[in-house]
C-alpha cells in the first residue's frame, strides 16, 4: 500500500504538540533571553519552593518516563538515591546520542539548551546534588559551543552557582565532551568514561543510584527526559498527563528520517502512529512505498508496513514485538536491500563493541563475516540459521544492552525478510541497485518512468 497517496484527514495542528521545540524557529532561540520570554526558569522557581521529596513525588506522579530508550520512570530513578548518607550525590546527563537513527537530543541542545539546564537545576534540587555533569558526545562541536555558552549565561543570571534565585540552593554544572565511542551511551560505561577510563560497562548491582560516579549515588538521565521536567513543573502534571496514554503520558520528540517526503523532528503526544505522522508530513517520497522501519533506532527490532498503526508509546511498540527506544523512525522504501541495511548495522555494532565480554566481542565479529558473504552472494542457506544461532548467543548473554541491540536487526529481518536473504544466496548476490535508494536516485528513477 502507498502511504503517500492517503488523504490528509487529521490536521497537523491537532496531532502535534510542540513544547520543547515550540520556539526553535525564533532567531537566537538558544539564548537565555529567548528562553525567558517563553516561561524559562519558571518551573525551576516553583520547584525550588518545594521540599525536594515533593519534587520527586510530583515528577513521579506526572508519569514521565526516560526518553533515552529504556523508558524507566524518571521520578522513580530519583527516588532510588539514598538520602542522608553523607556522600555527595551526582546528576549525569547522558548527551552521548549515538544510536543509529537517533537525532533528537542534538537539535534540542543546539536550539534550546536552557531547557536542559533548567531541568538539571530541578533534578539536582530533588536528589540533593550540588555538582552535575553533561556528557556530550564529542563529534558535535556546534552543540558543544552552545552548551558552553548557555551554562555561562545561566551562571551570570544566577541560575547556576551559589544561592540560585535566592533559594539557598547551590549547583555547579560541568560540560564534558566525549571522544567517540557509542558504548558510552550505556550508563555505566558513561560513568567509567567520565572518570577518565575506557568506556566499558560495569557489572550491576551495585546500580548507579547506590554506587555511580566516584562510587557515589548518581542519577543518569537522558537529555530529553531532563529537558521535559521544567514544563511539567510549570504547567502542571495534569497538563502533562492530558497527553499520551495512562502508562505513557506526555509529549515527546519523534525523529522521522529516510525515504520520507519531510524528514525532521515532530513533537507529539506519545501514542501517535507512523501512519499519522506520514499522513501529515507528506508520506513516503513520491512513487515509493514503505518497506521497513525502526521505531527507536537500529537496536530496536524493525517493523514493516504491517505496523503502520502501532501506537508509538512504550506499551504499544512493546506489544508489537519491538521497543519504543529513542523514537528514531528510520523509514526505508522498497528500493532498499534489507541485507545491506542489516550488514551495515552489524558492522557498526562490531566496531563499537567494547571488547569486555566474549559473546558480544566475538559474536558481532562472526555476524559481520557471515553477512558480508551473504550480501556478496557467497553465502549458503545454512548460514541463515547460523546467523540466528549466533545472534541468540549474544542476545541476553552479553554484559550490556549493546549485544541485545546487535541481535535485534538480525532476528527481526530474518523474521520478516527471510526470502530476501535466500534470494541473495540462491541468486548469487544482491538484486538491488543501490543507486535507486539514494536521496537523488529515487527522483531520477521517477523521471525515467514518468
Amino acid at each position: 500500500m502507498s502511504v503517500a497517496t492517503q488523504l490528509n484527514e487529521e490536521s497537523p495542528e491537532k496531532l502535534l504538540s510542540p513544547v520543547l521545540s515550540a520556539f526553535w524557529d525564533e532567531p537566537d532561540s538558544w539564548t537565555l533571553e529567548t528562553y525567558l520570554r517563553h516561561d524559562g526558569y519558571q518551573g525551576m522557581r516553583k520547584a525550588l519552593e518545594m521540599p525536594p521529596d515533593d519534587v520527586i513525588a510530583y515528577v513521579k506522579d506526572s508519569g514521565l518516563r526516560g526518553r533515552g530508550g529504556a523508558g524507566f520512570p524518571t521520578g522513580m530513578k530519583w527516588q532510588f538515591i539514598p538520602q542522608g548518607d553523607g556522600k555527595p550525590h551526582y546528576l549525569v546527563v547522558n548527551a552521548d546520542e549515538s544510536e543509529p537513527g537517533t537525532c533528537k537530543d542534538i537539535p534540542l541542545l543546539f536550539a534550546n539548551p536552557h531547557s536542559l539546564i533548567e531541568g538539571m537545576v530541578i533534578a539536582c534540587h530533588a536528589i540533593r546534588s550540588h555538582h552535575a555533569f553533561i556528557y556530550l558526545r564529542g563529534e558535535v562541536v556546534p552543540v558543544l559551543r552552545r552548551l558552553h555558552h548557555a551554562v555561562a549565561e545561566a551562571y551570570r543570571a544566577g541560575y547556576l552557582g551559589k544561592d540560585i534565585a535566592g533559594s539557598g540552593f547551590d549547583l555547579d554544572i560541568t560540560v564534558h565532551a566525549g571522544a567517540g565511542a557509542y558504548i558510552c551511551g550505556e550508563e555505566t560505561a558513561l560513568l567509567d568514561s567520565l572518570e577518565g577510563r575506557r568506556g566499558q560497562p560495569r557489572l550491576r548491582p551495585p546500580f548507579p543510584a547506590v554506587a555511580g560516579l566516584y562510587a557515589c549515588p548518581t542519577v543518569v538521565n537522558n537529555v530529553e527526559s531532563i529537558a521535559s521536567v521544567p514544563a511539567i513543573l510549570n504547567r502542571g502534571k495534569e497538563w502533562f498527563r492530558s497527553m499520551g496514554s495512562d502508562k505513557s503520558p506526555g509529549f515527546t520528540l519523534y525523529s522521522l528520517s529516510g525515504h520520507v517526503t519531510s524528514p525532521g523532528q515532530y513533537e507529539a503526544p506519545l501514542g501517535i502512529t507512523l501512519r499519522q505522522l506520514l499522513d501529515v508530513s507528506g508520506g513516503m517520497r513520491p512513487g515509493h512505498r514503505l518497506k521497513f522501519w525502526t521505531p527507536g533506532g537500529s537496536s530496536t527490532p524493525m517493523f514493516t508496513d504491517e505496523h503502520l498503526d502501532v501506537p508509538l508509546d512504550y506499551e504499544g511498540v512493546g506489544a508489537a514485538g519491538s521497543m519504543l527506544g529513542t523514537k528514531a523512525l528510520q523509514c526505508f522504501d522498497e528500493t532498499t536491500c534489507v541485507v545491506r541495511a542489516v550488514t551495515r548495522w552489524t558492522e557498526f555494532y562490531a566496531h563499537e563493541s567494547c571488547g569486555k565480554c566474549t559473546p558480544c566481542r566475538e559474536g558481532t565479529y562472526w555476524l559481520v563475516q557471515l553477512l558480508r558473504d551473504i550480501e556478496a552472494g557467497k553465502g549458503r542457506m545454512a548460514d541463515l540459521d547460523k546467523l540466528a544461532d549466533i545472534a541468540d548467543n549474544i542476545n541476553g548473554k552479553s554484559f550490556c544492552a549493546l549485544g541485545d541491540g546487535a541481535a535485534s536487526p538480525i532476528f527481526s529481518s530474518l523474521k520478516y525478510f527471510r526470502d530476501e536473504y535466500e534470494e541473495h544466496v540462491t541468486g548469487g548476490g544482491c538484486p538491488f541497485d543501490p543507486a535507486l535508494s539514494t536521496a537523488w536516485g529515487g527522483a531520477s528513477h521517477l523521471e525515467v518512468n514518468a
Binding site: 490528509n8 490536521s11 497537523p12 495542528e13 502535534l16 510542540p18 521545540s21 526553535w24 524557529d25 532567531p27 532561540s29 555527595p88 546520542e97 537513527g101 537517533t102 537525532c103 542534538i106 537539535p107 543546539f110 555538582h131 564529542g138 563529534e139 558535535v140 562541536v141 556546534p142 558543544l144 559551543r145 564534558h176 565532551a177 571522544a179 565511542a181 557509542y182 567520565l194 572518570e195 577518565g196 575506557r198 568506556g199 528520517s257 529516510g258 524528514p263 525532521g264 523532528q265 515532530y266 513533537e267 501529515v280 508530513s281 507528506g282 537500529s298 545491506r340 541495511a341 551495515r344 557498526f348 567494547c354 543501490p434 543507486a435 535508494s437 539514494t438 536521496a439 537523488w440 527522483a443
Partner: protein, 288 residues
C-alpha cells in the same frame, strides 16, 4: 610498546625509551590550561579525556609526548593513558590533515547516498579511508551515525555539520578546503583547523567572535514538525510543507554569491526562497 623491528625482523620486545618532554615554554603553557581543566572535576582522573583533546590541539594528534604529559599531571602510568587514548576514535594516533572529512556510512546515510559520496571522494582525492592528501589539508574517513539522520546524507568536517550532501557538493567542499577558501557548514561556525577544534573539545570556548551565533537556529529539518503544528502551508498542498527532497534537489549549481559555502543553508529556509526546504507561506511563521 616496542622498538620498531627492522624490516622482516622479529621484535624482541625491547621497551621503547620514554617519550621526550615538551619544551619548557610549551609545557608551562599547557600546564596552566590543564590546571583549569582538572579544576572542573572532583577527581583529577576525570580530566583525562579533555586533556587528551588538549594535547591533540597542541600537535594535531595524540603523541607519546602528549600522553606522557597527561600521565605526569594526573599521576597515572603511561600505560593507563595509552589504554584510554587508543579506546576512543576521536584521538588520532598519527599526523593527519587540517580538515578531517568524515562521511557517514552508517545504514541510513549510506543508503541515502553516503556510500556513493565516500566512493566519489576517495576517487576525487586519490586517497583511501583514514588517509591524508599530499598537501596535508584533508584526511578522509568514514564515520558512524552523527545524530543528524533527518539531514541525510551527512558529511562532517572537523565535527561541523554539512547536511544533505551529494557527491558533487562533497567534491566541491574538499576542493574549497584544499584551496584555502573559507567554508561554512550547514549548521555551526565557519571551519577552523582540526587543532583549533580540539581545543574547543578540551572545554575552552571558541575565541572567535560570533562563533556561537554562527549558523543560526535549528536547521530546516529540525523545524519540520513545528511548522506543521503552526499551520504553515504551501499553495497547492494544504497542511503540508514542501519537501526538502523536491524542488529539483539536489542541485549541481552552487547558489549565486556563495562560492565557498555552496552547501550551507541559510539561517532558516524562510529567509531563502531557493532553499530546498522552502519557500513557506509568508507571514505565518511568527504568527502564533
Amino acid at each position: 610498546m616496542t622498538n620498531t623491528p627492522e624490516q622482516g625482523a622479529v621484535g624482541l620486545g625491547m621497551p621503547e625509551m620514554p617519550a621526550p618532554e615538551y619544551p619548557a615554554d610549551v609545557r608551562a603553557r599547557l600546564e596552566a590550561d590543564a590546571a583549569e581543566v582538572i579544576g572542573r572535576y572532583p577527581d583529577s582522573r576525570s580530566a583525562l579525556l579533555p586533556l587528551l583533546h588538549l594535547v591533540q590541539a597542541e600537535e594535531g594528534h595524540v603523541t607519546r609526548t602528549g600522553m606522557r604529559f597527561c600521565a605526569d599531571l594526573l599521576g597515572l602510568t603511561t600505560a593507563e593513558v595509552i589504554a584510554v587514548a587508543t579506546f576512543y576514535t576521536m584521538y588520532r594516533r598519527k599526523p593527519s590533515g587540517d580538515y578531517q572529512v568524515g562521511v557517514c556510512t552508517n545504514t541510513l546515510c549510506a543508503v541515502m547516498g553516503g556510500d556513493a559520496i565516500f566512493e566519489a571522494l576517495q576517487q576525487h582525492l586519490g586517497i583511501g579511508n583514514d588517509e591524508t592528501t599530499e598537501d596535508g589539508k584533508v584526511t578522509l574517513e568514514h564515520i558512524e551515525c552523527n545524530a543528524a539522520c533527518d539531514f541525510a546524507p551527512v558529511v562532517m568536517v572537523n565535527w561541523e555539520f554539512f547536511d544533505n550532501q551529494t557527491p558533487e557538493t562533497a567534491k566541491r567542499l574538499v576542493d574549497d578546503l584544499r584551496a584555502g577558501l573559507t567554508v561554512k557548514p550547514s549548521r555551526g561556525a565557519p571551519l577552523c583547523t582540526y587543532r583549533e577544534t580540539a581545543r574547543v573539545l578540551a572545554g575552552f570556548p571558541d575565541p572567535r567572535a560570533g562563533a556561537v551565533e554562527a549558523g543560526g537556529g535549528a536547521g530546516h529539518a529540525s523545524l519540520a514538525g513545528l511548522r506543521l503544528a503552526k499551520g504553515e502551508t504551501v499553495p497547492g498542498s494544504p497542511g503540508r510543507i514542501v519537501s526538502p527532497r523536491s524542488s529539483g534537489y539536489p542541485s549541481d549549481e552552487p547558489p549565486p554569491g556563495h562560492p565557498s559555502s555552496h552547501d550551507a543553508p541559510h539561517a532558516t529556509s524562510a529567509s531563502d526562497p531557493d532553499h530546498p526546504a522552502g519557500p513557506v507561506t509568508d507571514g505565518t511563521e511568527e504568527g502564533e
